[in-house]
């Protein structure tokens, strides 16, 4: 029965994705003068060259981090949306180290990433403390704090790290010693992908094979039961959000050190929001985060290629995202069908 249920959940997700894609394809058919070309670029473009496939992997890296971060916080039933701000501030913190400090090769990025993580943890920890102390909704406070993160970050860049000789509001060049090495020739895929994979494994073990992960999951599923069992739920709630913030901050640092020559974000980059989509697709299961991240990155790059080579805008991706999330999040989507299955099985059992 439980296997059947897992299968049902899987087919439900696939069906949701299929319906979303179908709607996108129909939209393309309607708006495009050359729909065949647009469609094939959208669906197959990322596979056509090493560079484009590299783009998919590059985009996956930040999504892996934010997806993991969000999934940990969601597992504890904490709807902290601060991964966005933590990612951004993580990038700022590592920029500071990369620009201002002189350190040897490997130690330089390692230290920058670590600091980025700590900053992210502190940032996501604020809504957690507010929740535990005063029962303030972490959803609202983290959402608002994201803007604080944005303007605090821009202030730091503008007043302490800005290169006045550069044309835009960007930081000084990051020291060469601080950058992450490239992994695949012909692409910009960097060392961060290995850290991301390691992080996936670590988080999976943390959530399913350690007492801390058990506490996080139990608190998320039924906090009254967790408290009754002797678990200090308040500390678990804070721990989950510190961890989530740390991973998001690490992700931001790695993105900056792996992909950029200067810190040049003028606004929130959006990977924190995307992390929510990835976590929902993966049902908060760390092992499935890579699947969700790959899928979303593939769609994004496909749409981007399509907009560059055809008359369809890349925004078509947002239609897919929207429909997909609504269908997956809608608990009763196909519930009727599922109930029929249950009914049939019960019938078979009794006769």
């Amino acid at each position: 029965m439980f296997k059947q249920k897992r299968l049902f959940e899987l087919s439900r997700t696939i069906l949701a994705i299929a319906i979303a894609l179908l709607i996108a394809l129909v939209t393309i058919l309607f708006v495009s003068e050359e729909p065949a070309k647009a469609l094939s670029t959208f669906l197959l473009g990322p596979l056509k060259s090493v560079r484009h496939f590299g783009n998919v992997l590059e985009m996956m890296i930040p999504l892996l981090f934010t997806g993991l971060a969000v999934s940990i916080m969601f597992s504890a039933a904490q709807f902290n949306l601060g991964a966005e701000g933590a990612f951004f501030l993580g990038g700022i913190a590592s920029t500071y180290i990369a620009v201002r400090w002189a350190l040897p090769n490997v130690i330089h990025p390692a230290f920058a990433i670590l600091l980025g993580g700590v900053v992210g943890a502190v940032f996501c920890g604020i809504p957690a403390i507010l929740k535990v102390k005063w029962n303030a909704s972490e959803l609202v406070s983290s959402l608002m704090l994201n803007y604080v993160a944005l303007f605090l970050g821009l202030y730091i860049i503008n007043y302490f790290l800005r290169d006045v000789n550069a044309g835009a509001m960007v930081s000084y060049k990051l020291a060469e010693s601080s950058k992450l090495i490239k992994m695949i020739p012909g692409t910009r895929v960097h060392f961060g992908i290995l850290i991301a994979v390691l992080m996936v494994v670590l988080v999976y073990y943390l959530m399913y094979r350690t007492r801390w992960g058990y506490r996080i999951r139990l608190t998320g599923l039924n906090s009254s039961f967790a408290r009754y069992s002797g678990i200090k739920t308040a500390s678990v709630i804070v721990l989950a959000q510190l961890l989530g913030g740390f991973i998001a901050g690490v992700g931001g640092s790695i993105e900056v050190l792996g992909m950029y020559r200067r810190f040049s974000w003028q606004t929130l980059p959006g990977y924190g929001w995307d992390g929510i989509i990835v976590a929902i697709l993966a049902r908060n299961n760390p092992a499935l985060i890579p699947v969700g991240a790959f899928f979303l990155a593939y769609l994004r790059i496909g749409a981007d290629l399509m907009s560059r080579t055809s008359d369809v805008q890349s925004e078509v991706v947002y239609i897919i995202q929207g429909v997909m999330i609504v269908l997956i999040a809608a608990e009763s989507f196909l519930a009727h069908y599922r109930h029929k299955l249950v009914f049939k099985e019960a019938r078979n059992r009794s006769t």
Partner: protein, 530 residues
């Protein structure tokens, strides 16, 4: 000719039925078949009992009749016409009213306001409260259900609340009244009063469906009965034609062993010591008022009382779920005031919670993980960093076998199990930590006879092995059968201490539970041992 006569007879039979439900099948989303091709019918002006064990499908059948659940198969016929009952509103339009086990009343409103809620008499834009009060009074007098229309619900005792619920259904024009285990929350005296009122209702032409599993009540009150077992109807009988033994045999398919076999207790040292405990609840009311008692090694102390007389708060304090209180609670000599829930558990306390779905399990987690909750961080099950899946699996397989938890695999979600098996998961986990002190709060509420017997037996076994047991139960049969000694709580105070439960009869207990009788302080003081 013969067939014709037969058909005529059949038609005559049909005509006398006011309402019938034919071939009702209901499967819940978790796969539990609550009703399977159930036929059920009632005649005008009768009191019809619907009996069966917990989980036999009585409540589900009535929920379908009241429009709260929708069946997969079957039809409902009222006065010869097929009807659809899509919602409680539709049921009320058809003259069907229901009094739920858990009252659906707004505590902060008055009786009259509750009565008219949803169909208020209007005076311009305002609710005509005067008219509501007058109507309530009139109705109350007509049916001899005496209530004060201006009293606030929260100030009323359970028995009166129930009267309000019945009046509410009548106010809405109900002619068929469904009462879901109405006596479960009543004292013997209140029950007697209710029966008189129901007889009066019947005499005035109303039809009553009375859900119960208390056989003597059915014998006393009802005309006919339908027996349900395991989601199926076992047939309809005239109450006068069947004996209590017949009914119980049809209910459970075997003779119920209500007696718990146990030796006399051999109490040892004091394990739990409650000393002048006072608890103020969230509404600022003294829920527990200066009570003292102790539970010794190897004895079961029962706490009897109508629900809501401080038992819940007492349990919350002892288990550490609630902290602010006056007076002391000591477990094995340790004052628990500064201790966390974890530390109280580490003293050897285990707790079967009253509400198993809220406190006892995480329903979407599998059995194995649920069995682990209180010991997930003990060195037996986890190393420095990683847990030990093999040991955990062995433990879950062992407990599933030992406690006869019916399931496909330890990886099955708890919510797919039946109530009795879910309770066994809770009990297996709590009992497996070799407890010194067992706090069992309604340990067999709402579960089948098999699981009930099993859990009661385990409690006695653990007592014999030297555990101290505090048993809180609203089930009189349970506290009287299982406890060695007994305290009775009323209004947050102990009204009686019965040293030897065997010497007690139900009538006497009822008087203590209602606070009508009360022992002298010296007699109650015997509950404290040194």
């Amino acid at each position: 000719m013969e067939t014709a006569v037969f058909i005529i007879k059949g038609e005559l039979l049909m005509q006398s039925e006011l309402l019938s439900m034919n071939g009702i099948t209901k499967v819940y989303p978790n796969g539990i078949v609550a009703n399977e091709s159930v036929d059920f019918s009632i005649r005008k002006g009768e009191i019809h009992a619907l009996v069966g064990e917990n989980g036999a499908g009585k409540s589900t059948l009535m929920k379908i009749l009241f429009g709260l659940e929708h069946p997969e198969e079957g039809e409902i016929i009222l006065n010869g016409e097929q009807i659809q009952i899509s919602s409680p509103n539709a049921a009320i339009d058809h003259g069907i009213g229901m009094v739920h086990q858990h009252f659906m009343l707004v505590p902060s409103l008055t009786v009259a306001e509750n009565m008219v809620l949803g169909s208020e008499p209007k005076k311009g834009l305002y609710v005509n409260l005067k008219k509501a009060v007058a109507e309530t009074k009139e109705l109350a007098e007509k049916y001899n259900l005496i209530v004060d229309p201006t009293a606030k619900i929260r100030d009323l005792p359970v028995g009166i609340k129930q009267k309000v619920e019945i009046l509410k259904a009548l106010y809405r024009g109900a002619e068929v009244l469904i009462l879901d285990e109405p006596t479960a929350v009543l004292t013997p005296q209140e029950t007697k009063e209710l029966f008189e009122e129901l007889h009066l209702l019947k005499d005035q032409g109303n039809t009553i469906i009375f859900i119960s599993h208390k056989l003597h009540e059915i014998k006393e009150l009802c005309d006919r009965l339908t027996i349900m077992r395991n989601g199926k109807s076992q047939g309809v009988f005239n109450v006068s034609d069947v004996s209590e033994a017949d009914i119980s045999r049809l209910m459970v398919g075997r003779d119920v062993i209500l007696k718990v076999e146990k030796e006399d207790a051999d109490p040892g040292d004091v394990i739990l010591d409650v000393d002048k405990l006072t608890v103020i609840n969230d509404f600022g009311k003294q829920a527990v008022n200066d009570i003292s008692f102790s539970v010794r090694k190897g004895e079961i102390l029962g706490v009897a009382g109508v629900e809501g007389n401080g038992q819940g708060e007492l349990v919350e304090i002892i288990t550490g779920l609630k902290q602010i209180h006056f007076g002391d609670v000591r477990i094995c000599g340790n004052n628990i005031k500064p201790l966390s829930i974890k530390e109280i558990r580490n003293l050897g306390t285990c707790h079967i919670p009253e509400d198993r779905m809220t406190y006892g399990v995480a329903e979407s987690l599998d059995i194995e993980q649920n069995l682990l909750a209180d010991k997930h961080d003990s060195p037996e099950y986890t190393g420095k960093f990683l847990t030990k899946p093999k040991v955990i699996r062995e433990n879950s397989l062992k407990l599933i076998e030992e406690y006869k938890i019916k399931c496909g695999s330890p990886l099955q979600e708890v919510k797919m199990l039946s109530g009795g098996n879910i309770q066994k998961v809770v009990v297996a986990r709590e009992f497996s930590s070799s407890p010194q002190l067992i706090i069992a709060d309604q340990p067999t509420r709402g579960i089948d006879v098999g699981a009930t017997e099993f859990i009661r037996k385990r409690l006695v076994e653990l007592r014999d092995q030297g555990s101290a047991v505090l048993l809180v139960s609203a089930d009189l049969n349970e506290v009287m059968e299982l406890s060695d000694s007994l305290i009775v709580m009323y209004g947050g105070e102990i009204t009686a201490y019965i040293k030897d439960t065997k010497s007690l009869n139900e009538e006497e207990l009822g008087l203590y539970m209602l606070g009508i009788n009360r022992q002298s302080p010296e007699e109650i003081g015997r509950a404290i041992h040194v």
